[in-house]
Amino acid sequence: MVNTSLILHWHLDVSTLLLAAIFIAFFYSVTRFKRQRNNKLFAGVIILLLLLLSSPLHYLAMHAYFSAHMIIHVILLLICGPLLTLSLAGTDHPLLNRLSRFFNKNIWCAWITGVGIMWIWHIPALFDMAMANHGSFAPVFPLLQSGSLLLAGVVFSWPLLGPEEKLHTHALSGIVYLFTACVSCSLLGLLITFAPQGTYHYYHMGGSGYNPWNISHIEDSEAAGLIMWVPCCFVYLSGCLWLLYRWFISGSGVKLNNVR
């Protein structure tokens, strides 16, 4: 049975505000709030971010469940990150232009950043260290974790949704880009699902001793892995289908270097 007091667990901490402030400052410095549509989208993402990181879901993630933690990760990486990139659409700024050109030429850098950061934070020792630090006055690791996941989402989506549409990667290459990320995500999810008990020490030791839904540790860590494995892949798959749709409605037929 759901603990009724859970929905009252809203906590807005300094690190979350700091993270939002950094992103707002960056957004202002490159866009000067010139485009209404972008501003609205950006405001939406920041509100989502603040709600997410202060919500009871976040409280559960920090004190009780690995699976709740994973939902936060997925929303940061696969929803907030790409939406932040979209909020820069059409923005003409030397730094953004340089980034677009760079990722157009070195798409693998974006892939490695997106996938790599996700993997790194799930190295058990690093993960436990970040969680152990969350209760302190200046929680550096949770800030780093949320911030880097958000950044990973931005960078990963840049070659597909970046501000300069001409420098987007080809839709069909984009499908391969997303599919390989999906495979990597599945692999990590699989490892977490079938990891021996106690791999993620913090949750195995009972987090903060809070368990409102009486979920066993093994079920919780399985669910965490499976959230990364199955729903994540459907996000990537939806991205693939969207790219394909965009390719089909685009004007001319595409040729991949015919030589005959």
């Binding site: 494995w229 037929g253 270097n257 030589v259």
Partner: protein
């Protein structure tokens, strides 16, 4: 060149010699060939040979099951026969037949004169060929594999199967698996690099699209099987412990590795069939395909989803409710893109001027049978139903509705459609209709009743069964249907041989078809094309024949 050391490989001096060996170099021209058409035909002959062998095996099995408590076959022989039947039909009938059509028609459909790597093409075929024969050598070497086509641990371990059969299973499938991977590399390069200049990806025939998607699927799925086969060999030959729980290994690991390959394999055997039907429905409905983009998109969606659902084969292994729930949900989703395709084909036929040739009859029958197989498949996504029905004849019925009602019907449809092009001869449509009806009636008689047998609790892979109410009669009906199918296959072979020997000559374009392969001679010359017609839509040959009504000249796109 030194004459002592180098073999003189005969170069053909005449056009491709139809389907026979009566040419100036005899059999050697076939064995030494690197021509995609000859290799494609050899794939198809190989597939037919193994269809007969695998068919004989299953007729022995069905004879054993015709009546309760039968002792026609002992349990050991029974285990070997059903294992060899499944392995043969999947790896050495359906796969080579699909690759045969793809090897023959992909270059022709994209306006190329051969595959990108002709020698690799020959290597792929011969790997498959020798893989098959290596597998069958096990009968002479002390016993065929006997742990089912998916070769579960611990049954694949030495303690449970001490005959060398499983070793041959591993070696044979490893060889043919390498052949499948190399062929897929060849298809990808050929399709991406050797299309005629005009042909963008959006003008590509859907069969070629499906082969492209399929080839990526093969590249992603087969390494898992190949690695697992090596691991079993290591377990059996060098006493490794990958799948041996006593030694610290995991039997479930085999299931993960196998189904990581095995579920995509199901789509590897059906996506090209979707491609074949996406060519046949428009030609025999006299309409463009309805929703070209959706056929491609759902094909890609199926390929991507293939890697996210394999655990539904393992619901009964005790992975727990958490795992089962996620994979139940994802497995239900698979029905969506497949359903999309069914509606694509139905809408293609809708309002069309349908010609009921044998190829089209198989297409229409496919829509019915494959939907039955799809629906019984979706029922397995519901975990309690899976627990109730797993390892029963309901599964046997389901997988045959998919593999026969889906894959084999597609291949037979493709055979009747493309045979005139490959041989220069026409398959007799009247006898073909007899074959169609015999085969369809036989197929449904065999497998429809097995749904009931499974629901009544009859376990698969057990060599006999007790005389429980209804079991005897339903099994007898199933066996009778099996014999009807065998008679039908005999008739098919007769039709093929008669057509090759004395069939009437085929025109270059007997079906008034749409794609480039029909622009060349029947059978094509050694060099497929001297010139290729312009490609401006998905139906370039039709555009060429009817310039006033060309697809590219219309406002609407993609199949209105």
């Amino acid at each position: 060149m030194s004459e002592e050391t180098d073999l003189n490989v005969p170069e053909p001096t005449q056009s491709i010699p139809g389907l026979g060996v009566s040419n100036n170099q005899g059999l050697l021209q076939w064995i030494s060939s690197v021509d995609h058409k000859q290799i494609g035909i050899m794939y198809l002959w190989l597939s037919l040979l193994f269809l007969v062998i695998g068919g004989i095996e299953i007729m022995l099995v069905r004879t054993q099951l015709a009546v309760p408590n039968n002792d026609f076959l002992g349990p050991e022989a029974y285990n070997q026969l059903f294992t060899m039947h499944g392995t043969t039909m999947i790896f050495f009938v359906l796969t080579p037949a699909i690759f045969g059509f793809a090897t023959y028609f992909v270059p022709l459909m994209i306006g190329a004169n051969d595959m990108a790597f002709p020698r690799l093409n020959a290597l792929s075929f011969w790997m498959t060929f020798f893989g098959g024969f290596l597998l069958y050598f096990s009968f002479l070497a002390g016993g065929a594999p006997d742990a089912g086509w998916f070769n579960y641990a611990p049954l694949n371990q030495y303690n449970y199967s001490s005959s060398p059969g499983i070793n041959y299973y591993c070696s044979g499938l490893l060889l043919s698996g390498i052949g499948t991977v190399t062929a897929s590399v060849n298809f990808i390069v050929t399709i991406l690099k050797y299309r005629v200049n005009d042909m963008g990806l959006k003008q590509m025939p859907l069969f070629v699209w499906m082969i492209l998607i399929n080839s990526f699927l093969v590249l992603a799925a087969f390494p898992s099987l190949n690695a697992a086969l090596v691991m079993v060999l290591l377990d059996r030959q060098l006493h490794a412990h990958f799948f041996n729980a006593v030694g610290g290994g995991s039997a479930i690991l085999w299931q993960h590795l196998f189904w990581l390959f095995g579920h995509p394999e199901v789509y590897i055997l059906i996506l090209p069939i979707f491609g074949i039907f996406s060519e046949i429905f428009p030609v025999f409905s006299r309409k463009p395909i309805f929703g070209y983009g959706f056929v491609v998109g759902s094909g890609i969606a199926i390929a991507l989803l293939a890697f996210g659902v394999w655990v539904h084969h393992m619901f009964a292994t005790g992975l727990g409710n958490t795992v089962n729930n996620f994979f139940a949900a994802s497995s239900l989703l698979i029905g969506v893109p497949t359903g999309v395709k069914i509606f694509n084909w139905l809408a293609t036929m809708w309002g069309g001027s349908i010609k009921f040739s044998v190829a089209m009859l198989f297409g229409i029958a496919f829509l019915v049978e494959f939907t039955i197989g799809g629906l019984s498949g979706v029922s397995f996504a519901i975990v309690p139903i899976d627990w109730q029905l797993t390892d029963t004849y309901y599964v046997v019925a389901h997988l045959h509705y998919v593999f026969i009602g889906g894959s084999l019907f597609g291949l037979l449809s493709g055979l009747f459609y493309w045979f005139p092009k490959m041989s220069g001869r026409v398959l007799d449509e009247r006898s073909g209709r007899w074959f169609f009806w015999l085969f369809v009636v036989g197929f449904n008689t065999t497998f429809l009743v097995q749904h009931a047998l499974g629901a009544m609790g009859m376990a698969r892979r057990v060599y006999t069964y007790p005389d429980l109410p209804g079991w005897g009669i339903l099994n007898f009906i199933s066996t009778a249907g099996g014999f009807l199918m065998a008679i039908a296959v005999g008739l098919l072979i007769y039709i093929l041989v008669r057509a090759v020997r004395s069939g009437s000559k085929a025109e270059n374009d007997p079906w008034d078809a749409n794609t480039l392969e029909w622009t060349t001679t029947s059978p094509p010359n050694l060099k497929n094309f001297e010139q290729v017609i312009p490609v401006k839509s998905t139906r370039p040959f039709r555009d060429y024949k009817r310039p006033d009504d060309a697809d590219w000249n219309r406002k609407e796109e993609y199949g209105k």
